[in-house]
């Protein structure tokens, strides 16, 4: 049996049955465990995915993971709101919930903070982590380091930890090498600081988003509009996030923070490149710097070739059809052109 055949005939049939059974059970139960971070639905979804994902093609796996992650998030949030409403029926429940959420955002250290893990509520409303996650994902694609290199560093006092690694300048043969390493650690510290500031910015956005969501819900309340589905609640949250984000990322504060993040990251990457080049050089292997110089020279030679070819064509044309009278201006122009060409040639060779 081919793999494709197995997928189409057997496994898909199994997963259909699995969902049918689960739907039946969940329908009978018709009880949702309110604020539980892992509801029965979520656990069922994860078990199902564990069973079917290993053989799924990468593209399908990637899409399904994204859809499941988002689905989990909005159902968690909806369960939280609906669960509270059901359990005690208090008119101020959603307001209390949002107040608590706002408090949690304020007390959290940033989206990359380990303190986050302690906060149950805002873990349920994780949209605000998306921009930070996007950066981490992108940075990973440009980095040799796998995962978040700062994840296990303590949040306070890390600067002193890093400084203590290289307390003094080196001496003798190892001086240059040590200086390069010190520079790298200094740049890593700068990047870590920029990353913290970036993550703190998004924590602030998270807090503001909660306020905006509360305002939107108040407005709906006044208008007598009802949010009756998890999806509608999710869409309202996304709308709030996008609104607040759109306002904040236009500020000079964010422009500075964003620039600092990119620039410090590039600083680290640049220094790593310098150190890798030094090692390649020591091994008598071509360095990136050498390759770039060669690429630039090659490109300049190509431009020069094209210019000369164009001039040759022009001269061929003139030779085939010489002007009746050679004017003084024409002679001067031709001379000037020759001078330019010869000057450029010199600059390439130098």
């Amino acid at each position: 049996m081919s793999e494709r055949g197995f997928w189409n005939d057997n496994l898909l049939e199994i997963q259909k049955k699995y969902w049918e059974s689960w739907n039946e059970i969940s329908g009978k139960a018709s009880v949702v465990e309110g604020a539980s971070p892992r509801s029965p639905w979520e656990m069922a979804l994860e078990h199902w995915w564990e069973a079917v994902s290993p053989a799924a093609p990468e593209m399908a796996r990637d899409f399904m993971t994204r859809m499941m992650d988002q689905g989990k998030q909005f159902f968690r949030m909806a369960a939280l709101f609906s669960g509270k409403a059901e359990s005690d029926g208090q008119a101020t429940d959603w307001r209390d919930l949002l107040n608590r959420l706002s408090d949690e955002f304020r007390s959290a250290g940033g989206v990359d903070s380990s303190a986050n893990a302690k906060h149950r509520l805002h873990g349920l409303m994780g949209f605000w982590e998306l921009p930070f996650d996007n950066w981490q994902h992108m940075a990973l694609t440009l980095s040799l380091l796998q995962g978040d290199p700062f994840r296990n560093m303590r949040q306070v006092g890390w600067q002193a930890d890093m400084d203590s690694l290289f307390p003094t300048s080196g001496l003798g043969y190892t001086r240059e090498e040590l200086a390069q390493q010190q520079k790298l650690f200094k740049l890593l510290s700068d990047y870590k600081r920029a990353l913290q500031e970036y993550s703190q910015f998004f924590t602030d956005i998270g807090s503001e988003t909660v306020k905006r969501l509360a305002e939107k819900l108040e407005q709906k309340s006044h208008k007598g509009e009802l949010i009756k589905s998890a999806r509608a609640l999710y869409d309202t949250c996304v709308e709030s996030c996008e609104e607040v984000y759109g306002e904040r990322v236009r500020t000079t504060e964010y422009i500075r923070i964003n620039g600092q993040l990119v620039n410090t990251f590039m600083g680290v990457k640049h220094q790593v490149g310098v150190m890798v080049d030094a090692n390649l050089g020591a091994l008598n292997m071509p360095t990136r710097r050498e390759l770039r110089t060669l690429q630039a020279r090659m490109q300049e030679d190509r431009r020069e070739c094209r210019r000369l070819r164009a001039e040759l064509e022009l001269l061929k044309g003139q030779a085939a059809d010489p002007p009746a009278i050679q004017t003084g201006t024409g002679r001067k122009a031709a001379t000037t052109k020759r001078k330019i060409v010869s000057r450029k040639k010199c600059s390439v060779e130098s």
Binding site: Q70, W94, P131, L142, G224, S229, Y245, I255, R288
Partner: protein, 355 residues
């Protein structure tokens, strides 16, 4: 009145529905064959380095404009956006309007292209493509249609080579790079472009994707996939979604030197407005553009705000300037059903009036 009324049984129903759609979606995803893009028949007529110049095959029985139109696409993303699927193809609709369409596909630059400058692209590649088209169609002048960054390139090219351009069309083209609503421009002002290019060489597509997705991160990296769940059961819509997804993440790296120049001269110095853009040894002056100009822009464009495009009015030396406004976004202007019915016919009509 309480605004949230999600009953547990309704929530359970919604979850079950979501799960069912995911299950069905996986089945459809597994059955999805390779995503095809670029649907209109075409022929490669010129190649140089990574670029390919294509000529598209028009429909039989359509009276053709003798003056060909060369589409200059941006270096960012891939040009199949303009020919993404059978029923959503700006190129096909232009052919149906009787236009003889050519397109420059820039390909995927690699390290060996990192030293390419804007002069190499505009006065080099584009100029040679223009000459090939002129020769093939036996025309002294041709029409140029520049898309987004390609529009900025087309403006530069026309300003420096007016003798080869009969009509110029710019689509969602930034001209004033520093309008207050231009978020990309605001962000890029604080980036150390020299450090970035010196570090990376070519600028990776992933970095550009991150920047573009950061414009609306919650919608573009979260909500979009929730919306996708609703499409999963419909194979055709799923395939269309995947096609768009492929286009969004199909981001070629940017040749480092060109990127450096583009960000500095256009974004940071706002060169079209303040002057001073130099390509090689020549200064770009938009006032040298004297041919008819059609400026097409989108009212809800979050990448190139309408004001950024509208700024073209009055900057060129032409006495024949017109605008077409599309009530949609930067991508919608190529792929939406509404755009198919309005944009290519408007361009076709304008070109017929300017033969």
């Amino acid at each position: 009145m309480e605004p949230i009324d999600i009953r547990p049984e309704k929530l359970a129903e919604e979850m079950a529905d979501y799960s069912r759609k995911l299950g069905k979606g996986l089945e459809n995803l597994l059955n999805t064959t390779e995503i095809d893009t670029g649907v209109t028949p075409r022929q490669a007529i010129y190649r140089e380095d990574k670029l390919t110049l294509y000529r598209y095959q028009g429909a039989d029985g359509v009276t053709q404009n003798p003056v060909p139109t060369l589409i200059v696409y941006a270096l960012v993303n891939r040009p199949y956006m303009a020919d993404i699927q059978e029923d959503r193809s700006t190129i096909r609709n232009l052919l149906n309007e009787g236009q003889d369409v050519f397109l420059i596909d820039w390909g995927y630059p690699d390290g060996s292209d990192s030293s390419l400058t804007l002069d190499d692209y505009i006065n080099g590649y584009i100029d040679r493509c223009v000459d090939v088209v002129r020769k093939q169609c036996d025309q002294e002048k041709i029409n140029i249609l520049g898309i987004c960054q390609g529009g900025a390139f087309s403006l530069c090219y026309t300003a420096l080579n007016q003798g080869k351009v009969k009509n110029l069309i710019t689509m969602v083209t930034p001209v004033d790079f520093q309008t207050p609503d231009n978020l990309l421009s605001a962000w890029v002002q604080s980036i150390d472009i020299d450090l970035l290019v010196n570090t990376l060489g070519n600028v990776p597509g992933e970095l550009l994707n991150w920047t573009f997705l950061s414009l609306k991160p919650f919608s573009l990296t979260g909500q979009k996939y929730v919306n996708m769940v609703d499409l999963l059961e419909d194979e055709t819509r799923l395939k269309n979604f995947l096609r768009m997804e492929k286009w969004i993440f199909d981001s070629p790296d940017q040749a480092g030197e060109s990127f450096r120049q583009f960000i500095k001269e256009f974004f940071q110095k706002n060169g079209f407005i303040n002057g001073g853009i130099r390509l090689g040894e020549r200064l770009v002056d938009l006032n040298n553009i004297t041919c008819p100009v059609l400026n097409v822009y989108a009212e809800q464009d979050h990448l190139v705000p309408p004001d950024a495009s509208r700024a073209l009015k009055g900057l060129t030396g032409t006495s024949d300037y017109s605008e077409v406004v599309f009530p949609g976004g930067h991508i919608g202007i190529y792929v939406s059903g509404k755009a198919q019915k309005t944009i290519p016919p408007a361009i076709g009509r304008w070109l017929r009036e300017h033969v």
